[in-house]
Symmetry: C2
Subunit: 212 residues, 2 copies
């Protein structure tokens, strides 16, 4: 079970929090790490680590509104892989901006952990210039460009056409991440891409998931 | 519309053949190239270039046995991307073996075209040693390892559980490619992976598609 790049970005120092409540660790590259998110289910007493495992648990426990419509779970797992691989190409930029919205203590932990993960010091992650430009190109053309192709394969507002799924949550969650951490002009750049469809999708998913 | 790595491998010199019958060219990295496969539909007179476009056309023309079950086409497109990205990591080895089963004229064209694509001379593609070992690791652990995760997400013999889809064709077609071009001991190595599931899947897809 691997985590998505977005969870790498949003977790500041999960070890203590996760361990304190007795959550299971996650495996990453052979080593044991405690990660967020962790779900503590009040109705069942379940304590689940990892975004994917949480979504699967919720789907099995509350099947009336499935995140994985019948037969789609393997495909959505591959969707998650494809998205993760595409996001990787601009991850240094996303992590840089993520580090900049944290408080000092979290920021220090976050940067140290990501420097180890990326094998590069924070000032080398995404300096303005060719490297930053390459990150934008990857984000706009590869990541959102591919997402556009997937969304346009069939008619309807969701990846699965008329049927909402976890695939839409993945794309919207990443847009929400960028909205949260990017500077205003940077988010505007993403929000205006492809006639504003990613900002619209974010709003649609928020509505669908009763987040607003 | 991008082609899958397998079409890069199986096409020897498609330009003449495709142009002769009046097929449309494909776009690749901005340049116009003629590629195989091309479908000439005897019932409709359609002439379709590109594996994906052919599958979509067949699905729309003959909907009684869909390759893309309802709502799945965007997800299967992302599945295709994920598979392509994973195969890329061992592509030099696959192309080397592909070149070795061609006749002299095709071999010459194939190697020249792929040397330009890969930016490396054929003897550097996958020499025995660390590079070859890395290709095997990518193929066994990343490509088939990821496929295993996707297949095991839901119960049933197909990626979509009980429902056969184009996703299964993609995986089986790649296994068929390896079976065709690899040496006996190499194919045995793939065929015995994960308790022989990829060889079994290949046989199941051949049966499902009436290829045997």
């Amino acid at each position: 079970m691997t985590s998505s790049p977005s969870s790498l970005a949003t977790v500041a120092h999960p070890t203590l929090q996760s361990q304190e409540i007795g959550a299971s660790p996650n495996k990453r590259d052979g080593s044991t790490v405690y990660t967020l998110p962790v779900l503590s289910g009040p109705n069942t007493g379940a304590l689940i680590t990892d975004s994917w495992a949480i979504a699967v648990y919720l789907d099995e426990t509350y099947p009336e509104k499935p995140a994985f419509p019948k037969g789609s779970r393997g495909l959505i797992r591959s969707f998650d892989s494809a998205v993760g691989a595409l996001l990787r190409a601009s991850l240094e930029f996303s992590l840089l901006r993520s580090s900049q919205i944290l408080n000092e203590r979290s920021k220090k932990f976050f940067i140290n952990a990501r420097e180890a993960f990326l094998g590069e010091k924070v000032d080398k992650w995404s300096p303005e210039g060719p490297k930053r430009n390459a990150h934008w190109e990857a984000l706009e053309q590869k990541y959102y460009g591919s997402a556009k192709i997937w969304y346009e394969e069939i008619e309807g507002k969701w990846v699965m056409g008329d049927t909402f799924s976890y695939a839409d949550i993945i794309i919207a969650a990443n847009s929400f991440w960028f909205k949260k951490v990017c500077r205003d002009d940077e988010w505007k750049r993403i929000a205006s891409l492809h006639d504003g469809r990613w900002n619209k999708l974010l709003a649609e998913v928020e509505k669908e998931c009763n987040l607003v």
